[in-house]
Subunit: 164 residues, 2 copies
DNA sequence: GGGCATTTAATTGCGCACAACTTAATCGTG
DNA sequence: CACGATTAAGTTGTGCGCAATTAAATGCCC
């Protein structure tokens, strides 16, 4: 039942397979658990979790093109276009072609979208409570996650071992 | 532009909002970055990332009911049923009603599904390389994620502040 | 200025995640 | 044994994530 401590360099393939499963899986599980808590908290606001992320960006920037929104959230137009269409149907955002560059579409908060910020003010507090994390733990976790994301992004593009 | 250091107990709502965004978002981003790397690695095997997770469980347990599979992966039949149907169509698993309990469906590896394990052997190694993480870092991250998941699961169910 | 590559959104198609519901088998209690 | 409650899978519908494609505007270079 107990696993003998093994030096990293001597790990057997089975251990790697297990370790791997646990890391990618625990990340997946945590992400979905987070989503579940957000979902219950956001139900009253009529927002999904990804929609909430978009609103968070807009509450900081007020108006910005879809392109920039996608860069900030790591999402492409295939995801954002229908999502923004739903937010527009809900009356929270307005979309219009940029006058300077007619290819670009500017997303802007409506008054209703701006007001929603007040109603959403409690969400982060409740989330922080739900995690039970201290600021140190949260910071530590974020640092690890950002390091991981950076490494994985790099590997996906310029690591030859992945693209054989 | 620079943020003055503030004691956690005195954080203003805006800071909480930002911190919150960064934590849930970095988790989301890392999870999707992970998925992207797996996707490229698994393309040759004809597996999606969730399908790979199912196969990982099956490679350990050989045969088990859908119910148990769902518990291990935190997925319900709404997700697993069509996924398993696709794995069965690909010839990797076999499904049949349990004789003991006709409500239950047993999922079992086919010979092809068993053989696929050999082909998948390199995946965890490449993933480990892509993360660039030491075993310590990976362990530390997993510990934080599991603690987080546990806290979030608890909050979703028995925390009154979430269900008002 | 004309023609071609690039950029930006939108659309289409597929698979996953989840809620709500349906169906069928089993359990429990009288 | 009967009958209501519970349990396990499957189905349906909605939304997200992403690849691939399309359409339109812009930039560039001769």
């Amino acid at each position: 039942m107990t696993k003998p401590p093994t030096a990293p360099s001597e790990r057997a393939p089975q251990d790697l397979l297990r370790l791997d499963r646990q890391l990618c899986f625990s990340l997946n599980a945590a992400s979905r658990a987070f989503g579940a808590v957000y979902r219950t908290l956001l139900k009253d606001l009529g927002l999904t979790y990804p929609q909430y992320l978009v609103m968070l960006v807009l509450w900081e920037h007020t108006e910005l093109p879809v392109k920039r929104l996608g860069e900030l959230l790591r999402l492409d137009s295939g995801t954002l276009s229908p999502l923004l269409k739903r937010l527009e149907a809900a009356g929270l955002v307005h979309r219009e072609r940029s006058a300077q560059d007619e290819r670009s579409v500017l997303v802007r908060l409506t008054p209703a979208g701006t007001v929603l910020r007040e109603e959403a003010a409690l969400v982060p507090v409740r989330i922080a409570t739900a995690t039970g994390f201290t600021a140190q733990e949260a910071g530590e976790l974020r640092a690890l996650l950002e390091k991981l994301t950076l490494a994985l992004d790099g590997a996906a593009f310029d690591d030859g071992s992945l693209c054989d």
